[in-house]
């Protein structure tokens, strides 16, 4: 037990130190690397908190997809000319006041953490009690896709809205065209080698993570992130063309998840107790079908978000 506490204290100190370094380091590229390390360490913290589902999401998103996104952004923003800044950096006095104020906020929160007591309000027993009705064994998946399905549906819509927002930033004339990912035609042999070897394994891993999500930690989002990473790798290596954003199959893949979710939800009004309710006999197959559809949509959405707005007019 004491060894466990020592590991926890070391881990917590490391996460905080990594966060501080990300803020204080001069070089933006180094800050991004620090942030990726922070995301991976935070995933370990979630493992220590028995929240393996969250840990997988944090590692896939905080460490993985956000990392690629940020590295591309550093490349675009800090190459050559002076980096974009709004206003001069604040002077030492402002910094000192800000540091004091932020320390006060942190201290207040720490006081709350140390002060909480008594049994917490919890829905865990309720979730555990109704879990058998869904046919699932992973309570987190149960909450995400059955008990709080509306949240998850809206979350998928948020992803789509963000992608539409990103696409709408395309330069005039490039709408409907192709985003640029990597350096077209100039990918190194090493990258091509990796992109040939890794995706077969990664696709199996992604589908496995989705499939075990019903009964063990894993699920649509984590599996979708792995699949997205494989596609991004193939596109960066130039092995798979970056699709023009106007392609009908791309649009269909983006919306099939939310649409399937919505269709099952509306059907619930007629064949079950209400919107987004499942008929008990078919709960598990329906949930798995929704998960498969949203995994595909998530994978395509994440990859297109990383690719960014289209830059080239859409030649066929």
């Amino acid at each position: 037990m004491t060894a466990g506490i020592a590991v926890d204290i070391g881990l917590a100190a490391l996460v905080a130190a990594m966060a501080l370094w990300t803020i204080l380091v001069r070089d933006a590229y180094a800050a991004v690397i620090g942030f990726i390390g922070y995301g991976l360490l935070l995933a370990l913290v979630w493992v220590r908190l028995d929240a393996v589902d969250v840990a997988l999401t944090e590692a896939a998103i905080g460490g993985g997809v956000t990392g690629v996104l940020l590295l591309r952004a550093v490349g675009a923003l800090h190459r050559g000319a002076a980096p974009l800044e709004d206003g001069p950096p604040p002077g030492p006095a402002t910094r000192r006041i800000a540091a004091l104020a932020c320390a006060a906020v942190a201290a207040g929160l720490a006081f709350v953490v140390l002060g909480v007591s008594g049994p917490a309000p919890t829905l865990a027993p309720l979730a555990a009690e109704h879990l058998p009705a869904t046919g699932l064994k992973n309570p987190v998946t149960g909450v995400l896709l059955a008990f709080r399905a509306l949240d998850t549906l809206l979350e998928k819509v948020v992803l789509l809205l963000a992608l539409i927002g990103i696409w709408s930033l395309s330069p005039d004339g490039a709408w409907g065209g192709r985003p640029t990912l990597g350096r077209p035609g100039r990918a190194s042999d090493t990258l091509r080698f990796l992109a040939q070897l890794l995706p077969p394994v990664g696709i199996v891993v992604g589908i496995h993570v989705l499939w075990v999500g019903a009964n063990a930690p894993g699920g649509a989002f984590q599996g979708g992130a792995v699949l997205a990473a494989m596609w991004i790798l193939a596109m960066m290596a130039g092995l798979s063309p970056v699709p023009a954003i106007g392609r009908p199959w791309l649009r269909a893949a983006l919306v099939i998840g939310p649409l399937a979710f919505l269709a099952v939800g509306v059907a619930g009004i007629f064949i079950a107790d209400g919107f987004l309710a499942y008929p008990p006999a078919f709960a598990k197959p329906l949930i798995l079908a929704i998960e498969a559809a949203i995994t595909l949509s998530i994978a395509v959405t994440l990859a297109m978000m990383v690719a960014g707005p289209p830059q080239r007019p859409g030649a066929p």
Partner: protein, 100 residues
Amino acid sequence: MTMTVFGLCGAALVGIGLYGLIVQAQPLRRILAFNLLGGGVFLLFGVIARRGAVEGLGSDPVPQAMVITGIVVAFSATALAISLVVRLKETGRGDDEGSA
């Protein structure tokens, strides 16, 4: 004990992220700071909610599901913000209009 350690860590992360959000001048660094802050908030939420863990379940699934949703939404916001900043730089208007 584990809870307290990570709770304090979450509180520290919120403070650090907030500081970065205030003192950084580059938009990309602010986005990073915002994500650090978000990570701290999720951690605090997870720690405080974990008091509700019952026998048989390692930890309360409801807050876990909410944190997963939160991570996804934070990612969406980050991706959109980065695209905005990159576009701002491309159009070359970031330097002149200050707080554009």
